[in-house]
């Protein structure tokens, strides 16, 4: 098992010059840690069948793989069902207030290079009440991983529509159907110039773990949208991409460096749409009207220009998940706010060598003094 904080792990990064997301965080020494060690003694209290259980299990199993000291990991959450997450992990954690987790995490991540900082949030928490903090964390590129559990409903407040609910959604607060236009979280993150944007699904443990590994290894803000089923208030929201007979044609896996193909028999693919500047789904083959495989769009997550990644994100019309790209949309190198801030403080403190007490005395005295005897 590779530990992502090791030099070996770093070499897997797409950017040789860039530090790993976990660099600076002390590595665990001794026997490998277990999922059990990362589980707290608190009883997990989500509704039976909630997608959050699967994500929690995946994270508890994944965290030991990071090879970091448990005490140097911090989970911060806002308010909502998913935000109970930190209580169930035996790391440091804060269950904060609605929408504000990214700002609290910003303080933690900027103050301390030696901490691995994680934010757990939901579609209402991150995109509605906390929308401002989310976009600013993404634009600053603070070294943290944001897990955005998207169940497309308000669960904790018992079933109102959320900023990702489809238009027309009938809920307690929209008995005649919602007239709100939904956000596409991946498009939003790309618009905010996020350096790492991915989407995964609660029920696909392997894919989820793969995306989490890449997100943790990325230095900067990683946004991972996790489609998560709410069995009580929005059951079946993701049936199109989970049903055995539909998912093959609905899920579009993105793999860096690979042509984008999907379909039950890989008979579909993506090409650029020169008419719109976007991308479109085509049938792959040699028949008239079909497109040969060599003409398909090759996914480049490391492309500095986010245009294509954005175009791919637009394939998903909220409410109609029959075209849903999953995987890493974008992973690019960009300096992080916290590294640069610490570098400024570090260089300023290195530039002085006298005792802080003497320096304080000289600072507060200033230049224009007089003496009263």
């Amino acid at each position: 098992m590779t530990t992502l904080s090791s030099p070996a792990g770093s070499s897997e990064l797409p950017f040789p010059g860039l530090r790993a997301g976990t660099e600076g965080v002390p590595a665990h020494e001794g026997d490998a840690q277990t999922a059990k060690e990362f589980s707290s003694d608190q009883e997990v209290r989500w509704c039976p069948g909630c997608g959050d259980y699967a994500v929690l299990k995946a994270v508890q199993s994944f965290l030991p793989q990071l090879g970091l000291r448990r005490e140097n990991i911090v989970f911060v959450s806002g308010i909502g069902c998913s935000s109970r997450f930190p209580y169930y992990l035996d790391t440091y954690g804060m269950h904060s207030i609605h929408g504000r987790a990214p700002s609290i995490a910003t303080g933690i991540a900027t103050a301390r290079e030696d901490l691995s900082v994680w934010v757990v949030t939901g579609d209402g928490d991150a995109l509605s009440i906390g929308g401002n903090h989310l976009i600013h964390a993404l634009r600053r590129n603070i070294n943290m991983t944001i897990l955005l559990f998207n169940n497309r409903i308000y669960g904790l407040t018992k079933g109102q529509y959320s900023p990702t609910s489809e238009a027309g959604k009938i809920t307690k607060s929209t008995p005649m159907g919602s007239v709100d236009h939904p956000f596409n979280p991946v498009s939003l993150a790309l618009g905010a110039e996020a350096s790492f944007v991915a989407r995964t699904i609660d029920s696909d443990r392997k894919h989820l773990t793969h995306v989490l590994s890449a997100a943790a290894a990325h230095r900067g803000t990683s946004l991972v949208e996790i489609y998560q089923n709410c069995p009580i208030f929005n059951d079946g929201a993701f049936d199109a991409i989970k049903g055995n007979d539909t998912k093959g044609d609905a899920l579009i896996p993105l793999e860096h460096g690979q042509p984008i193909t999907f379909g039950s028999s890989q008979a579909k693919g993506l090409v650029r749409d020169t008419a719109t500047g976007g991308v479109k789904v085509v049938e792959v083959g040699t028949e008239p009207g079909q497109v040969t495989e060599d003409q398909l769009l090759v996914h480049d997550a490391h492309q500095a220009d986010p245009t294509t990644a954005f175009a791919i994100s637009r394939l998903t019309e909220m409410g109609y998940l029959d075209q849903t790209p999953i995987g890493i949309f974008r992973q690019v190198e960009r300096p992080t706010y916290d590294d640069q801030t610490r570098a400024q403080v570090h260089s300023a403190t290195q530039a002085v060598d006298d005792d802080p007490t003497d320096r304080l005395a000289s600072l507060i005295a200033g230049n224009d003094t007089w003496t009263v005897v």
Binding site: G107, L115, G366
Partner: protein, 646 residues
């Protein structure tokens, strides 16, 4: 030519002009010169919220008042002895504040038809000097073409007339510096540094400044020079001039040094607090991190995060920002993390008067959160005192693991006074006392015991919980906004536990009173029946008002509160000692309400909410009225004329 020199014990000068005329800079330099000269002084800057309000209009007038004296003074003065007016609007706006006999120096250049119209003058008041309808009849008016002489003086630098005329404020400063015998080296050095990159502008300003001085010295317009000797009776020590925002910033840097904690400021720009953000941004060499957040909430959120991570989290703002931060402050109360919340109060409600002072956020600080959310409150009483108040707020926050609100205000923030620079050894030491060990023993089913960490197990004396920062092995724990079980800190919905925790959080704040020194009651004769009690920036005006009453031969006691929550332990007993209690405030009676509620005392309010500091003369009247009542006299029957000193 030798001129007459008159001795004065104190002078109040007000520089007034258009927002773009550099009046704040002029006043600031005059203050600095006076400070270095050794006068005691207090300043009152007053400026519009607009960066460049419409030129030449009354709302666009910016002024800077400085009161300096040969003895210890407490306020910026009620009424200026000298007004320097750079245009008709500045004259008109400030005239009502002048006492009869005041000196007015006006720049005649700006008294054009257009400017007179803008100021609402139908004719030029300077044309009527000495005539029957002279509106300036009661004053000594000195019309000088400040602009014209300045332009002439700086001709050699080849500046445009517009640029050249901008040095007129330095000409005025030079003239006033001559009149009051101010030392000039500091200003010349300051101008050299400030305009180092633009030699023409630098030289023009220095030349204008010197020309102003020489104008006073050589022309016959100004026949008298005044001398105000350095102040006596001030405690021995090294002094500097300092504004409240600067002193507060230094206090925060000092709190970092004295606690060994890196300071982390999360802040969003807001008047009149932004200067603290600017100042702290310069002090990275002290390990200070500043984060300019996307909004007020993110500012406090990041500060809370930094505190959780073991830094000294600070957030700075004004009243509207406190409103936005309230929920996050509640989180800091619930998670019991150290946090400094600095509120530089301004006129409210809503956007209110952004550049004016007020102290109407006391109730917001006390109660402006959901639930029972007690929070310690401290307030500085003068610009220099902001330094000590910041250190005291940090001591309480770190010792008791709690957010602390510091209530400064716009007057303290921008006003200045001579400040005795403290010795490092006299500053408090603040011990973060981080938790490093488990604090609780658990017994497993098989009977074996092991150490566990309980984040809400409290110190018996302070009731503070342990501060265990991430990175400390074995102390992993989770905190949050949900109610905690006492001790173990896990989520608890138990009714009895909630009642206990609500009371414990209150008790923890109440315990702070145990650490406070006794109040200093200023009651020189010991015979006063009236006590005047205040908090914050009203200290100066209240003190000056009390002095006036005492000079007229009456007794009055004064006490000023640094701690608004909890109140000092001896406050109730002190209040009970006096027949009458007067509470002057720049609000509608917030402290008096708190005193009435807690001590069942008939605290009377003296409340003025003009966006300006209280006036000493008005306070003396109010205090006198209450003294009369205490003596059984009718209001107004008490003679407030000063008695000849014995």
């Amino acid at each position: 030519m030798s001129k007459q020199v008159k001795q004065l014990d104190r002078v109040i000068i007000r520089f007034a002009g258009d927002s773009g005329d550099g009046m704040q800079l002029t006043g600031d330099r005059f203050t600095q010169e006076s400070a270095v000269f050794g006068n005691d002084l207090v300043t009152l800057p007053n400026f519009p919220a607009e960066i460049r309000a419409p030129q030449g209009t009354l709302p666009g007038v910016s002024s800077f008042q400085v009161h300096f004296a040969d003895h210890d003074i407490l306020t910026a003065g009620d009424a200026p002895d000298v007004l320097v007016a750079m245009n008709p609007a500045a004259l008109k706006a400030n005239l009502p504040d002048l006492p009869v006999g005041a000196t007015i120096i006006v720049d005649t250049a700006d008294f054009t038809k257009r400017n007179l119209d803008k100021a609402g003058y139908t004719s030029n008041p300077l044309d009527k000097l000495g005539e029957v309808d002279d509106v300036l009849g009661g004053f000594q008016v000195q019309p000088v073409d400040l602009t014209g002489i300045t332009v002439e003086a700086v001709k050699e630098f080849g500046l445009t007339r517009k640029d050249a005329s901008r040095a007129k404020n330095m000409f005025a400063l030079g003239l006033l510096s001559w009149m009051y015998g101010r030392p000039t080296e500091g200003t010349i050095a300051f101008l050299g540094k400030r305009f180092a990159k633009v030699p023409d502008i630098r030289d023009a300003n220095i030349t204008a400044f010197k020309a102003g001085w020489n104008y006073g010295e050589t022309t016959e317009t100004f026949a008298v020079q005044y001398e105000i000797k350095p102040a006596t009776g001030m405690p021995a020590g090294t002094y500097r001039n300092i504004t409240g925002n600067l002193a507060l910033s230094y206090g925060l840097v000092a709190a970092g040094v004295r606690s060994g904690l890196p300071v982390f400021l999360g802040s969003y720009p807001i008047t009149p607090a932004s200067d603290i953000l600017h100042e702290l941004s310069k002090h990275k060499a002290f390990g200070v991190t500043t984060f300019q957040a996307e909004d007020e909430i993110a500012g406090v959120g990041a500060a809370i995060g930094a505190s959780f991570a073991g830094h000294l989290g600070v957030t700075t703002t004004s009243g509207p920002g406190i409103a936005l931060k309230s929920e996050a402050i509640g989180l800091a109360i619930m998670t019991e993390l150290p946090l400094l919340v600095i509120d530089v109060q301004r006129g409210g409600p809503s956007t209110g008067l952004p550049t004016k002072t007020e102290q109407a956020d006391l109730m917001q600080a006390m109660f402006g959160r959901n639930g029972e959310a007690p929070l310690p409150i401290v307030a500085p009483q003068s610009p220099g005192d902001c330094f000590d108040a910041a250190l005291e707020a940090a001591r309480i926050a770190v010792t008791y693991r709690t957010p602390v609100m510091l209530l400064s205000d716009g007057y303290l923030a921008n006003g200045s006074e001579p400040w005795r620079i403290p010795e490092q050894d006299d500053l408090p030491t603040i011990d973060p006392a981080f938790a490093t060990e488990t604090n609780h023993e658990v017994t497993a089913k098989d009977g074996t015991t092991s150490g566990d960490f309980w984040p809400y197990l409290r110190d018996e004396e302070t009731l503070a919980r342990p501060w265990a920062v991430p990175g400390t092995p074995g102390l992993e724990h989770r905190i949050g906004g949900l109610e905690k079980g006492e001790g173990h800190g896990n989520i608890s919905y138990d009714p009895a536990n909630h009642d206990l925790m609500v009371r414990t959080r209150q008790a923890k704040v109440d315990r702070i009173a145990e650490s406070l020194p006794p109040l200093q009651v200023d009651d020189p004769s010991g015979k006063a029946k009236v006590l005047v009690i205040g908090w914050g920036s009203t200290y100066g005006p209240i003190g000056a008002g009390c002095r006036r009453v005492r000079k007229a031969g009456h007794d009055v006691a004064q006490v000023h509160l640094r701690h608004l929550n909890p109140f000092p332990k001896d406050l109730g007993e002190i209040l009970a000692r006096y027949d009458k209690v007067l509470v002057p405030e720049m609000n509608l009676g917030q402290l008096s309400n708190l005193l009435r509620a807690k001590y069942l005392v008939d605290a009377r309010g003296y409340n003025v909410v003009r966006g300006l500091p209280l006036k000493a003369a008005e306070l003396a009247e109010a205090i006198g009225g209450l003294v009369a009542e205490a003596e059984g006299l009718a209001p107004g029957e008490l003679d407030l004329t000063p008695t000849p000193s014995s």
